[in-house]
Each structure stands twice: as C-alpha cells, then as structure tokens.
C-alpha cells in the first residue's frame, strides 16, 4: 500500500502546480496521471494567460470586472479578486521558471488583446501557450521530489467516516490495482469534453475526477455552464485559438459581412465567447452560414505575423480543414470546449468533503461563473492549483493517516471483474457516441425545455445500456478497452449533473441560453446550482453568488 | 547536354575509381562534361564545416553556384553528400536578404550567386534529362538475374523539402529505377535510406561499423549480390571499412559495393577494368563473373 501526505490526481497545469506547491511546503507528494504529464490536455490551450501587471499601468480590478461581466455575474467575486490579484506573480513565476513568453521591443513581456477584456493583458507564447507552460512546469516537477505515477488510472476515492483518505488506482502497465493512502487528495483531472460530440477536447477529457467526487458525495456546481468556443474546425472539432481574433482576424458570414457588428458593436469579434458563439449559431441557423460554418478571415494579418504568432493554428487549418489562413478564410463553427462548472470549492480548493480538494477545470470556485473569458483558464489552473497545494499541505500537518488496507481495492476489483466476465452485451463505442450526440443536440448553444427533457430521458436509456456494457479485451496489460468503458461510466455521471443543472436553471445566463426563457433573471437566479449525491440520489441546492464590489448590470459588448 | 562537372573532393582523392567511371559513362550516354569551370570550386563543407559555421559553408557553395551560373552550364554532382549539402545551402539562400549578405563576401572575386544554379546528381540527370526510356535503349548488357541492393546515402533523400521531391517525385525511388532499367532486380531491404555511418567513423567506430554490417548483411539476406550507392563517402565506409565491420560482427560479409556509374558502366558494356572495379577493398570479382554468365 502506498502512503503519501498529498496525492494529486491529474498532471496538467493545475495538478503539477498543486504538487509543486505542496512539495515545496514539505509534504510527501504523489501525482497520479493516466497519461504522461506532457500529454495532459493543458497542452491544447493556445492563446495565452491573463494578468494585470501594475507596472504597466493595468489594474487588477479592471481584470476582475472584465471577468465578472464575462461570467454574466455568476462568478464569486471574492474568488475573482484573489485570482486577479495573484495573476501577476503567477505569470512572472512561470517566466522565471523558463517560459518563453513573447517580448516587446524593450525585452519585457509582450501582450495581445483577447476576448471580453477592455485592456490587452494576455501574455503568450506564440499560439501554444498551454503547451509551453505545461512543459516548463513538468521540468520543475522533474527536478523536485514529487513522485509521478504515470499511466495509472484512478478507479475510486476511498472514504472513511465522510473523509477522503486515499484512492484506488490501476497501474495500466500491469492491470494491478493499488490502494494509495493519503491525508489529502487534490483532484485536478480536467474537464468533461468527451461527454459532447464533437468537442475540442482530447479523448482523455472524460470527467473522471468530477464523477469520482460526485460519487464520494461532494457538491458539483454550475454544470449547466458549458462553453462552446466560437472557432472550432468542423472536421475534427479542433480548436482555432481566440488569438487569431486577438491579432485582428474577422468573422464573416456567407455574405462576406462582419456580422458581429450587429451583435456586439463595441468589441466585435472579441466579445465574450458565449456572445460570439450565439451570434455565429444564429447566423448559421438563419441561413447565412456555409455548410454549417462561418468564416475566420486572417488574410489581412499577413504571412509574417501569422508565422510568428499563429503558426500552430495555421498548420491546423492546413492539416485539418485544407485551408491556409494566409490565403484563404477558414470555415469554423461553435464547438464544445470547456466546462465552467465542476467540483465546488472555496478559494483554497477545499470541496464539501473533508480531505478532498480540487483545482483547475475540474473545480468550480467559481471564477468563471456562466462563461469563461479566454486566457483565464491557464490563470485559474496556476492560481488555484498553487493555493490548493499550499492549503492541503498545511492542513495535512494536523492530520493523522487513516487506517485503511489493501481490501479497499476490492470494490474496484469486483466492478472490473464483473465487466470482464460479461460476454454478451454492447461495447462502449456506440453508447458514448449516442451520449455525445444527445448532449450536443440538446445542451449546446441554444436550449429549451423539450430538448433538455429529451436529453434526460435519453440519459436514462444510456445508463440502462451501460449497465450491461461489455469489455472485449480480457487482458490485464494496458487494457484500454476497459479504461474507456470505466471512463464512460464517469461521463454518464457528469452528463447527469449537467442535465439536472440545465433543467433547474429557469433563466438564460452566460453559456446557458434557453430560447423559452431568454432573459437573465437576477432577482430569482443570481445563485449557483449545486448537485450532490446523497444515498444514491441526486439532490439540488442553491448557493448565493458572492458579491463584493460589482452589482450585476446589463451585459453588452 | 553539357554540364559543369563538380566532382567533389573524394572522387579526386580516395575514390578515383568513381571519377574514372563517371567520365566513361557520361561519354557513352552523350553527357558532355566541362571539367574546367569547377576547377577552382571548393569543397561543399560536407556538413562538417557547417557545424563550425553554417554561413561560411553557404558562402563557399554560393561561390560554386556563381561559377556555374557564369559558365551558363547546369552543375552536375556525383556525390549524395555534395548534392544534399548544396541543396540545403540553396534552400537557405532562397531568402533574398540572406543571399545578399552572402554575396557581399563574394564581391572581391566579382562573383554573385543569382539564385538560378540548380546542381543535380548524375542519378537525377539520367532520370530527368535523359529519361528512363531513352536510357534503357542504351543498355547493351542487361544485368539479368542479378539482385542489386540500393543504398542512397542520407544527403540525397533528406530533408525531402530541400531536395525537390514534391516537384520531382521520381527522385524518391531513382536508384531503384536505375537498377531495374539496367535489367537487374532490386534487393529491397529496410536500411536503404539509412545512414552508412561514415560521419561518425572517427568518433564512434563501433557504431559506424555496426551500421555497415547491419546494412550489408540485411541486403545479403534479401539475396543481393552487390550494393550500389551514389555517394563515395558511403562507398568509403561500406567498401573500405567492410573488413573492419565484418571483424566486429564476427561474420563474413563479402558484399561488393558499386558506385552508381560502375553499375551503369557494366550495363553499357564497358570493361570492368576501365571502370576500376579491381580497385575496391571488397573484391568485386563475384559480381563481374556473375555478369559474365548472364545471357
């Protein structure tokens, strides 16, 4: 049995930042990750990381307000203040660790404009900032004493008297299950992209941590807030960074019109993502699209700038859409990209379950509320990753280890054995595809009661089918067939929280837009929706939004 | 067709058999060679000089290109390494700013590289300028029944974007085309585009020899009676050091290594002695006598 002070589940930006912070504070830390750390989906973030640096004449309060307005006032303002205040030091810290940020003529960090912000405060590394930061953080982990269990898959959290005291993980290389005892567990396992089809997300984004926390009785918040990114490629859902628009690219409809003029006359293509996605979807729905897409036009930016700052997405356009953005507009459309919701935490990463923390996309603090601004996610992962690591590391100093033993793996062993023993039934693939399509049909940019109820009944049917799913591969060594099937179970749980939240929220706010209830209703709905599993059933409760300085206003761009 | 012949360093030094065979074969194929223009041309740098100073390497090659341009003749190479290094230099100097900077160093000699010179290996010239069908017509002694293994040499197959493979896709399998055109059969083996080990010969002889023995034995396994290469540096390793490689691996190899013009020369009916096939380290008798037996 393995024994640690702090175990982090997930080796993306949030996970590794948490692990480093805890380790630097003296804890014995392990990171469990189902892929090599540099394969984590943080590497897909392209555009940049926001920070208000006061020595530039920027102001953290402006950043905070932009974020809160961007969230459609659902973000908790105390948390946003923390993030905005600590942003500068996180960015500088990354630079000190070796991040190769773009520089201005004086050799200082350069900025670009980004969606939803009145001031350019997005620091960037060409158009692969996420990959750049992830690799730098990984370098630091390599030089630290943190033990990383690579290609280990977490099957369940271990609870003892309503406290999380460890987890069970499978070494994918051998198929063996291991009990790992820990005084605290920090979940940083990313988002739920694969619940939707298509999605910009990697195949590993299956909501594992959110589902595990849900099953352990932690509150899951704001799951109806699903971000559809405005510029994704039709072919494979790949992301075309907001950076393109940040550098000045236009969005055109089939008539060659910069249609954002009609929806967000001030910020145009750089309005908040939900606004842009809705505008695009409306254009497409009203017949001004081309093959279900609109056009991203960057030709006027010139080859030199594109090669310097947008090289990766230029290549993506060539590889996956057959269009070179230097000479052609690229067809794009809204695609599922990010979940603002997640495991409810406070500003130190604590969930409603003792000993259990969460950070990054997995968590909902909430700093993104109803809609996340571009380049705020990288910031979120670093600030709250660090805070969770620090807090957990301090807290465990006062905690004793639980007395658990290897028998705690039995539940998982049995679950897996049952799956492997089944010889007749359906494989995971079609169930997963049906789930993805149902969610994309009814819980995308525009929603309504009928659609969401259809999704709910579809989900019940999918769960039924899942109860008799089979695993074709009966081997132990690297059984990806088994892993995908277990992941599907997690995805179904995550979908449940999204549907519950969406049906519950009787207004439109942020990314949750109901055609049957199109207005924002601050009087009744300025609150979070938290779904918790109690005794096998899901219960809903409301949590008020924390307001410090900024009263909700009408949201126009 | 007339070409400014750029023989490279090795064919005038340690591989004179290549030079002689080239002259003979070009004669028979109607390829006229101007040997004067490139008399004052330097070594290409072979990738080694580029380690110390890439710009100096480019300058030396720009000088050679300018000399070629002045002669009005296209440049012909007979070495994969020369070809590759020149192609890479040319590729870098498509950047006008860079080319101008390089040209300033050449102004003392009144030389200017205008970006037009297009050095090409004899291997490509046969396929592209003569054409494989016309080439086949000149074959008098087809190497029927002989299995020959192709060994390209890294520099003539990588990096593919500097070598014009998009515009001339036949270059990718040019050596196989020649082998088949001379009537022989291709002994395909996995290492045909791999490294012969010559660049690390003095630095890590063990690894270098392992490469030689891997490729020669692998070719033999496919039934090859000889290997052909368009690169004299590869030849130096595969032929010159074959005994050393054989000793290291503890197995006899005895695979004759032919220069490209020697293979072609045999099929054109030229006497093996004139092609200097008796001047190899690894005895070529077996392939010559096999040829004598063919109908």
């Amino acid at each position: 049995m393995f024994d640690f002070d702090v175990i982090v589940m997930g080796a993306g930006l949030a996970g590794m930042r948490a692990a480093l912070a805890a380790s630097q504070n003296g804890s014995k830390v392990a990171v469990i990750t189902k892929v090599y750390p540099v394969r984590s989906h943080s590497n897909a973030a392209q555009g940049g990381i926001n920070a208000a640096l006061t020595d530039r004449g920027d102001n953290w309060e402006d950043h905070a307000f932009d974020t809160i307005k961007g969230s459609d006032y659902l973000a908790d303002q105390d948390a946003v203040e923390v993030m905005a205040k600590e942003a500068g030091s996180e960015v500088i810290n990354m630079e000190h660790m070796g991040a190769a940020f773009n520089r201005d003529d004086e050799g200082r960090l350069g900025v670009r404009a980004f969606g939803g912000q009145r001031e350019a405060r997005t620091f960037f590394v060409a158009d692969f900032t996420g990959q750049a930061l992830l690799h730098v953080l990984h370098e630091q982990v390599l030089s630290s004493g943190v033990q990383v269990f690579e290609e280990w898959f977490v099957t369940t959290l271990i609870m003892e008297e309503e406290r999380c005291v460890g987890l069970v993980a499978m070494d994918m290389r051998t198929g063996e299950l291991h009990v790992m005892r820990s005084k605290a567990v920090i979940i940083a396992s990313g988002g739920v992209g694969r619940v939707f089809e298509p999605s910009t997300n990697a195949l590993i984004c299956t909501g594992d941590g959110i589902a595990l926390a849900y099953r352990a009785g932690a509150g899951i918040m704001d799951m109806e807030m699903v971000q559809y990114h405005p510029t994704t490629l039709k072919n494979n859902g790949a992301l075309m960074s907001e950076a393109a628009r940040g550098e000045g690219a236009y969005l055109l409809n089939s008539e060659g019109e910069r249609f954002m003029e009609r929806y967000a006359p001030n910020m145009m293509e750089l309005a908040s993502r939900d606004v842009v996605s809705r505008s695009e979807q409306t254009e497409i729905n009203e017949g001004r699209g081309i093959d279900g897409c609109v056009l991203l036009d960057a030709r006027h930016l010139g080859e030199k700038l594109i090669n310097e700052r947008l090289l990766q997405i230029r290549q993506l356009g060539i590889d996956f859409a057959g269009k070179d953005m230097v000479t052609d507009p690229v067809p794009i459309r809204p695609g599922m990209h990010y979940i603002m919701g997640g495991i409810k935490t406070d500003i130190d990463g604590r969930t409603s379950v003792a000993g259990l923390y969460a950070a990054g996309e997995t968590a909902c603090v909430s700093v993104h509320g109803g809609n996340r601004l571009g380049a705020n996610s990288l910031l979120d992962t670093l600030v709250f990753g660090r805070r969770s690591g620090e807090h957990a590391s301090e807290w465990v100093k006062t905690q004793a280890s639980a007395s658990i033993n290897d028998n705690h793996a039995n539940v998982s062993l049995d679950e897996i054995q049952n799956l492997l023993d089944r010889d007749t039934g359906e494989m995971f693939g079609q169930i997963r595809l049906d789930l993805g399509q149902t969610m994309n049909n009814h819980l995308a940019v525009y929603r309504d009661q009928t659609g969401m109820e259809k999704a709910k009944s579809d989900l019940a049917g999918l769960k039924q089918r899942y109860s008799s799913v089979i695993v074709q591969d009966k081997n132990k060594i690297f059984n990806t067939n088994l892993i995908f099937t277990l992941e599907l179970g997690f995805m179904l749980d995550c979908a449940e929280t999204t549907i519950i939240g969406a049906l519950e929220r009787k207004e439109s706010r942020g990314a949750h837009t109901r055609t049957d209830m199109p207005d924002r209703d601050d009087k009744n709905w300025l609150k979070h929706i938290v779904v918790t599993q109690v005794g096998g059933k899901s219960e809903v409760e409301y949590v008020p939004v924390n307001i410090t300085k900024w009263q909700p206003q009408e949201r126009k761009y | 067709m007339k070409y400014a012949f750029y023989p490279g360093c090795v064919s005038k030094g340690a591989a004179p058999e290549l030079y002689g065979a080239t002259i003979e074969v070009c004669n028979r194929l109607g390829i006229e060679l101007d040997t004067k223009t490139m008399e004052g041309a330097s070594c290409t740098g072979s990738g080694v000089l580029q380690e110390k100073n890439e710009k100096l390497g480019d300058t030396l090659n720009a000088r050679t290109f300018a000399m070629g341009e002045n002669s009005g003749l296209p440049i012909m190479t007979i070495c994969s390494t020369c070809q590759g290094v020149m192609s890479q230099a040319k590729s870098r100097m498509t950047d006008l700013e860079y080319r101008e900077a390089v040209n300033t160093s050449l102004s003392d000699e009144n030389l200017e590289y205008k970006g037009q010179a297009e050095p090409r290996h004899l291997l490509w010239i046969i396929i592209e300028d003569i054409g494989i069908e016309k080439f086949k017509e000149k074959i008098v002694k087809p190497l029927t029944g002989l299995k020959i293994a192709p060994f390209y040499g890294c520099y003539i197959v990588r990096p593919s974007d500097a070598l014009g493979f998009d515009e001339n896709p036949d270059r990718k399998h040019s050596l196989e085309m020649i082998i088949e055109a001379v009537g022989a059969e291709v002994a395909d083996f996995p290492g045909k585009s791999a490294c012969c080990g010559f660049p690390i010969l003095t630095i890590n002889e063990k690894n270098s020899m392992k490469m030689v023995s891997n490729h020669t034995l692998s070719a033999k396994k496919e039934g090859a009676v000889a290997m052909v290469t368009p690169c004299p540096l590869c030849h130096l390793n595969l032929d010159g050091y074959q005994p050393t490689a054989s000793k290291q691996v503890g197995q006899p190899i005895d695979l004759p290594i032919l220069h490209l013009p020697q293979l072609i020369g045999l099929a054109l009916g030229i006497d093996p002695k004139i092609l200097k096939l008796n001047q190899h380290i690894v005895n070529t008798k077996s392939v010559v006598s096999a040829l004598a037996l063919t109908p």
Partner: protein
Amino acid sequence: MAATGKKILGNLQNMDVDLNIARFDPESDEKKPYRQEFNIEVDETSTVLDGLIKIREEVDGTLGLRCSCRSAICGSCAMRVNGQAVLACNTKISDLVSDENKSVNVEPIGNMKLIKDLIVEFDTHWQKIKAIEPWVKTDAPPPEAEYIASNESMMELIGVMGCIQCGACVSDCTVLAVDESFLGPAALAKAYRFLADPRDDANNQRLKDLNEPSGMWDCTRCMQCVEVCPKGVDPMGRIMKLRDFAMEAGYKNTTGARHAEVFSDIIKNNGVLNEFWLPVKTFGMFNIPEMLKLAPIGLKAMMRGKMPPIFYEKIPGSKNITKLFEKTKVL
C-alpha cells in the same frame, strides 16, 4: 473518439482501405509479434488515427494504441506508418493510398521496447530527458519582475520548445538503432533549449556533460530526426549548434571537435579535402594506437590506388577560399 463513418460531413469520397497493423499480445503463450489486416471504409479526410479508432470501436476492442488530442499537440500517437515515424492524427490516409495500392502499413515506433500492439515503453526516453537536467538553472536569485530578454531570443527558444516529446525522432534515429546509450535527438534538442536560454547560467556544466561519449558528437548527421519531426523542431540542427557552442567555449579536445577543426583547416588552406590528412590530424600523428589501426586500411587503399597524395596540390584560386575563411573569422 470521432469514428470516421459517423462524421457529419456529407459529400465526401469514401474509400476502402486495408490497415495492415503490427500486433503483439504480451499475455499470449507465444509472445510473438504478428500482423493483422483490417479492411475499413474511410473518407478522403480520414487520418490514420481515425482509421485505428474506428477499428478499436467497431471491429476489435483489443487493439492497443495511445492517442489523445487528435490535433498534433499532445504527442501520444507517434507510430511508424509505411516505415516512417509520424503522428497518426495528422497523417491522411488519402495521401498514402492510390488506385493500385490500398494498403497502409502501421507499426509501433522504433527504438523503444514493445508493450502491446502499437504501445511502446517511453521509460528510456524519459530517463534521457531527465539526464540532461531539463530545468532552468540560475546562479543568482531572479529579479522582481520578468527577466529582460529579446523577442529574438525567445523566438529561438520557441522553435525548439515546439517539441511535444512524441518520440518520432527517437524512433527513426539511425544511431539509436545501433547504440541504445546515445542520448538521442530529443534529449539533445532539449539540452540545446537550455543552452540557448539567456536566463540559464549552467552553460559550462551542460556543455561539459554533453561533450561526453554518447553525447552531442555521436550524432551521425543522417537527418532522420529532421525529416520525421512533426513540429519542425530540427533536432539535428540543434545538435550542430551544440557542437558550435562547445567548440566556441573551448571544448576542443574531443575527436569530433578536432575532426571539425582539422576539416575546416584543410579546406581553408587547400580548398578541397584531403582524406589522408583528415583522420591523421584528427587523431593526432602521435596517437600511436589510432595510427596503428589506420595503417592497414591505408595500406590496402594505397595498393588499390585509392590513397590521396600526401603532398596535396592546392586548387587554382584557393587563396580566395582562404580569404573567405579569414573574413568570417572561423579559425
């Protein structure tokens, strides 16, 4: 897992292809690699990864492969397709097949121990990455704000930091194929990243370590890594720069450095190479063991008329070449 046939694309040309896949079941009795051919229907935009996922989801759930992002940024899906290392997710099947040939060969990447089907061990790879100490090392505490650095220096880093650790270069490296101990293109390129970083102070130590056997001088300049890298990192170019740095920093006592110096010297003075003096001067005339090794080879060469003249004639106009060397201050 976008199974290709289910994409909502419409009007695309469909085609039947055969994916011939190298398989290995580590839990079988025979424990031998075998091949399995799958015939599937794909469309003109399908990638090799699309095809593999389709097989895994609809035909044979036991097929093992690593993949994640599907957009060439995570590095999981490196594999050998038709003999060359690529990322399966950005390799289009339509580029590989024709009317005459509808078969695509898929194998795990090379130079790494096989675990199962297309999944290989990356352990050695990570060991080598760790061995070059891949973190920024500074002598002094960092400044309050950011280090001041030119955008040019950051752009240079960005080129090499584009590496996604996919292992394609490691797979097809011709030196790793004969010598497992070689650091390899990925680790060496990563080492260059720190040497080129103006904020890293450990240049001397790094160069010293990389100068050792199995380090920077063991690269055979075959350009495989340059050819197969899906992100344009140019590992070999970085290794050449490492050699340049090493020689500039005074690390001239390796065979490789001497070879480069002697080579340049010969060209500077004669215009062309002399293969007699090159090895002799590289090892040093008084290096008896090496001279003894060269002697029989030299003798054989001499007997075949392949010995270059000891007193070499300079080429006409070689003075101009000498001048060019002096202008660029190479030696």
